[in-house]
Every structure is written in C-alpha cells, then in structure tokens.
C-alpha cells in the first residue's frame, strides 16, 4: 500500500455521552484526523479531554453521535460484519489491560483474539508465539496462569493478546501507566518492535511527555474535546507556554532551554530530548571556538 494514503480517517467526529439525559456530556467535538501506516503517534491531553473516547471510535467500539470513521476509505459502520472485522485490524489495548486477563494459561489468553478471528491449529500457535516474542514473554511463561505473573508481565501478556491479531493499526491507552522505569522502557521497546516489523500505524495515549518525545514521530494534543495541535514533537513542544496553559507539562530539557533563552542565551526552542539537546549544546560550543 502507498504509505501516503491514510489507513484511518476521522471526519467531523462528535460524541455525546448519555444524550438526552441530565448527564449529557459532549466528550469530543468536530474532530478531523488521519493516520498513515508506519506512523508512531502520541496522543496527549489533560484528564477528560476525550482521548479514550476518540480511540474507542477508531475500532468501532463507540458509535459516533455524528461524523464518520473510515478504515482504508470505507465507513467502519457500513455493516455489522465489517465493523467486526475492523476490530481485528485496528487493535486496541485498554488502560490497565492486565485486568482483562481471564484464561487459565497465558497461551490461551493470547490466543483469544486470533481465535475469534477464526484462526486455529498451527497458525494459531505461531501467532501466539510471535506475539509473545514481541513482548518478551518466553515459552516457560506461556504455560503459566496469567494471575501468577508480576504486574509488568501481566501487562505485556495483555498487550500480546492484541498484537496476536496482527492489527494494521495498534492503539494503546496509557500503556506504561503504573509501571517502573524498567517496565516502562521494555513495554515501549516492544511497541516499537511491533511497529517496525509490521509497518503498523501506532497510536499511543500518554501523560508522560519525555516518553512521547523520545519515541513518537507525530504528536496530537487534545484540549476541550477538540484537537488543539498536530505536528512533529519539535513543532508541538515549541509552544511550551500554551501546553502549560492546557495543564500539560513539557519535557524537562525543553523547560531548561526555555529558561536559559529567557536569560538571553541564544538557544533553539525546538529541543525536546536529552541527546538532541546535548548535540545542540556541543554545536554551540564549537561555534564559539571557531
């Protein structure tokens, strides 16, 4: 497929919860977005800005109040069968996915998704082992009960359960929430491994700016039920004041560089990772010497 054609498009999407009751609430409003294969997108925004609501539309779990979601150019609500098949092609990993494990063994739990797609026999086993490989779950763990694993391992088994469907688009809602630094790094690395191997589009909701700054190629900022910014991390983090106003933080190096600039030191504004910052500082030092 041509890498420039979008795999998922969102057109004029609005969702209202509990419409027509006293608890009516507009969660997202007039959203237009498109995602391409191979993209690693970070979705950020303060609590309640509608991130989870938006991503549940992308695989047809929530029905739009108005607007459309297109998968490879086709409306995912076209018919029941298509909606069901899209769920296998757009994999969604919920927040704290380890609470959804239910089978006796990890193998069976990971196999649940592909089995629902109608895969069986050797192909099923191959899929399960491949998915387990992406998240670093060894063969010895596959035969264990998921309830006997550590928190981080459970999380990775749950992610494998979605990866095993081999979706073209992988969406994760705060995949690293509640993990320690090592667990966080390994989950992020697993996600990247899958993205590279399948050239999948990955959308990742996160509250950790350092994390999205380090791995995402594109950032979407949500605010007040709409999309406030959409661009590369450099383009987004330049607006550090606006982000702060929206109740979001920026990576610490970005803040350090901004404070230095305010003191009259001539430094670029688009710095958001430590290695990049070091490179720019080295450049500057050399520039002085010459």
């Amino acid at each position: 497929m041509d890498p420039t054609t979008p795999i998922i498009e969102v057109k004029n999407l609005t969702h209202v919860y509990s419409a027509g009751t006293p608890f009516e609430h507009v969660a997202i409003k007039d959203i237009d977005l498109s995602f391409r294969p191979g993209e690693l997108v970070g979705l950020i925004g303060h609590t309640g800005s509608g991130k989870s609501t938006l991503i549940q539309h992308l695989n047809g779990l929530l029905k739009p109040t108005s607007g459309q979601v297109l998968f490879k150019g086709e409306n995912i609500w076209k018919d029941k069968k298509f909606t069901h098949s899209v769920r296998g092609k757009v994999g969604l990993v919920f927040q704290y996915p380890e609470y959804q494990l239910f089978e006796e063994t990890c193998w069976k739990d990971i196999a649940f998704g592909p089995k629902n797609q109608g895969i069986s026999g050797d192909e099923l086993d191959a899929r399960v082992r491949r998915a387990a490989g992406f998240v670093g779950i060894g063969d010895d763990l596959l035969e264990k009960s998921p309830f006997d694993l550590s928190g981080g391992q459970k999380r990775r088994v749950a992610i494998a359960g979605v990866i095993a469907m081999e979706p073209d688009v992988l969406i994760l809602d705060e995949p690293t929430a509640g993990l320690d630094a090592a667990g966080r790094d390994s989950v992020l690395e697993n996600i990247r491994a899958y993205q590279r191997a399948q050239n999948a589009a990955v959308i990742m909701v996160s509250h950790a700016m350092e994390e999205v700054a380090a791995i995402c190629s594109r950032l979407i900022v949500m605010n007040h039920a709409g999309v406030a910014m959409d661009g590369t991390p450099a383009e987004v983090f330049v607006h550090s004041e606006e982000l702060t106003e929206m109740g979001l933080s920026v990576p610490q190096v970005t803040t350090v560089f901004r404070l230095l600039r305010e003191r009259g030191i001539d430094l670029p504004a688009d710095v958001y990772t430590v290695p990049y910052a070091l490179a720019r500082l080295a450049e500057r030092k050399e520039g002085r010497r010459c």
């Binding site: 779990l61 239910f102 649940f112 469907m165």
Partner: protein
C-alpha cells in the same frame, strides 16, 4: 451501554423535596401508598393526582422522566386493565359478544386499578429520584434502630446495603470496560446459540469476579486501617435532623390522608 440504565436514578438537586429529611420522605411514601389504596372515588383520586403533580413540580423532576419510569411497567398495566375489564360484573351490560362481557363496573374497576398502579410507581420513583441511595439507607438505619434492642444487626445490614449501593455504579462501569476490551479482541456476545452466548460471558465474568474480590479486599483493609469496628459507639458526620420543612411535609401528608378518608366516607 449498561450505564444508560436510568430507572429510578437519583437526580441531584436542591429543591425543598431534595432537602427534606430522608426519613420524612420514606414515612410519607408509606402514608401516600395507603392513601392511594383508599382513594376509590373520582374526587379522592383527583386529590391524590394533584398532590403527586405538585410534589413533582416542587422537586423540578421533568414529567418526561416520570413517563419513562412507567414504560417498563406497560405490559403489567395493560394486563391488569384487560383482566379487570372482562372479569368484573356489575352495573349495566355494555358489550356482550362471544365470551366477552363488559360491564360499566368493569370499566370503572379497570380505570382505578391502572390509575393506582401508575400512582404507586410514580410516587416511588419520586422518592428515588430525589433521594440518594446512601441517604435512603441512612434513613432506614435510623428508622429501624429500635430493632437493635432485640439484637437485629441493623447497623451492619445498613452498612452492607450502602457498600453494595456504592459499588453498583463502579461495577457497572467495570463491566462496560471489560466488555469493550473483550470486544476489541473480537469477542462476540450477540450472535450464536444460547450455549455459545453463555460461554461468551466467561471472558467478562472471570475478570469481573477477580476485580470485585480485589476491591472487597482493598476496601476491608482500608476500613480496618481507619479503625472501623462496627456500629458500637459510632457517631455520624451528617446527623439527620427534622426541620420545619419536615413538619410541614408531615402536615401535608396527614391532610391528604384525612381528606381522602373524608371523601371516601361521603362516597364522592
């Protein structure tokens, strides 16, 4: 979505009806129910309707919600109406065809039965619409507290009830989330034979039970950490107190009951 079940759901508000002591409302509901059963004449029924409409208006509950509450009862109401219509004899015969006989008395009885059911349902909804479940449990505990003398564990029962009530929305939300998560993995709950559908519930029930037990465990620990040791010597942060408003409400309720009894006596 499961969450959209609104039957008897509390509508937060600050009207006089909301501010009334929940004990008053509970007792008034009992008086109201008795009144509805005593009101067997047109004038007295009209009086009860006026009372209900006034309270609904005072509570600022949309009439639409009342009608919505009646909807699930529709089949039951129709059934009662039909039964009373054909099985009551008396008065003049209006229709005599095959096995169907309709008398004037039948129409009257059917009308009153339907009206009574609707008034009962609306009155009960008015209580649950304007009183939070927690306040209701509190009221129940206070009203039943004399039973403690004969060793009925009133406080423990009330505590269990409020914990259960407190966790209903949480568990519903949790169920919604688990259903969504399993649907995202291609689970299908809507098609297939009954056995297949029952089997499809396993991926929902196992995580739900696991999380319910985890929550129960956490809650028990949290309560123990805050030195909860049952009802003995326990004081309350929000002490229920009767006010002038409650006095007035009791007066209005008593007046309604008396008026209906008087009207009934004169056969109006």
């Amino acid at each position: 979505m499961l969450k959209d079940i609104t039957l008897g759901q509390y509508f937060p508000g600050k009207t006089v009806v909301h501010r009334m002591d929940p004990r008053t409302k509970l007792l008034l509901l009992i008086v109201y129910l008795v009144t509805v059963f005593l009101a067997s004449t047109y004038a007295s029924a009209a009086l009860v309707i006026i009372f209900l409409v006034t309270v609904t208006w005072l509570a600022r509950i949309p009439f639409k919600s009342m009608v919505k509450g009646l909807k699930p009862m529709l089949i039951f109401i129709l059934f009662t109406a039909v039964l009373n219509l054909f099985y009551t004899k008396g008065g003049t015969l209006l229709l005599d065809w095959w096995i169907f006989h309709i008398y004037t008395e039948g129409i009257k009885t059917a009308f009153f039965m339907v009206l009574r059911i609707m008034l009962l349902v609306c009155g009960t909804f008015l209580l649950t619409y304007t009183t939070s479940p927690i306040a209701l449990t509190d009221a129940l505990e206070r009203l039943l507290s004399p039973l403690k003398k004969i060793h009925v564990p009133v406080h423990e029962l009330a505590m269990m009830m409020s914990i259960a009530l407190r966790f209903i929305p949480t568990l519903i939300e949790e169920t919604d989330k688990i259903i969504s998560a399993q649907k995202a993995r291609g689970a299908d709950f809507e098609t297939g034979s009954l056995i297949r559908r029952a089997k499809a519930l396993i991926p929902i029930l196992v995580p739900l039970f696991v999380s319910a037990f985890r929550r129960a465990d956490e809650l028990a620990t949290a309560m123990e950490c805050r030195c909860y040791h049952g009802g003995e010597g326990r004081t309350r942060m929000k002490v229920l107190r009767f006010t002038r408003l409650d006095l007035f409400a009791f007066f209005a309720g008593g007046l309604l009951l008396a008026a209906v009894i008087v009207l009934r006596h004169f056969g109006l």
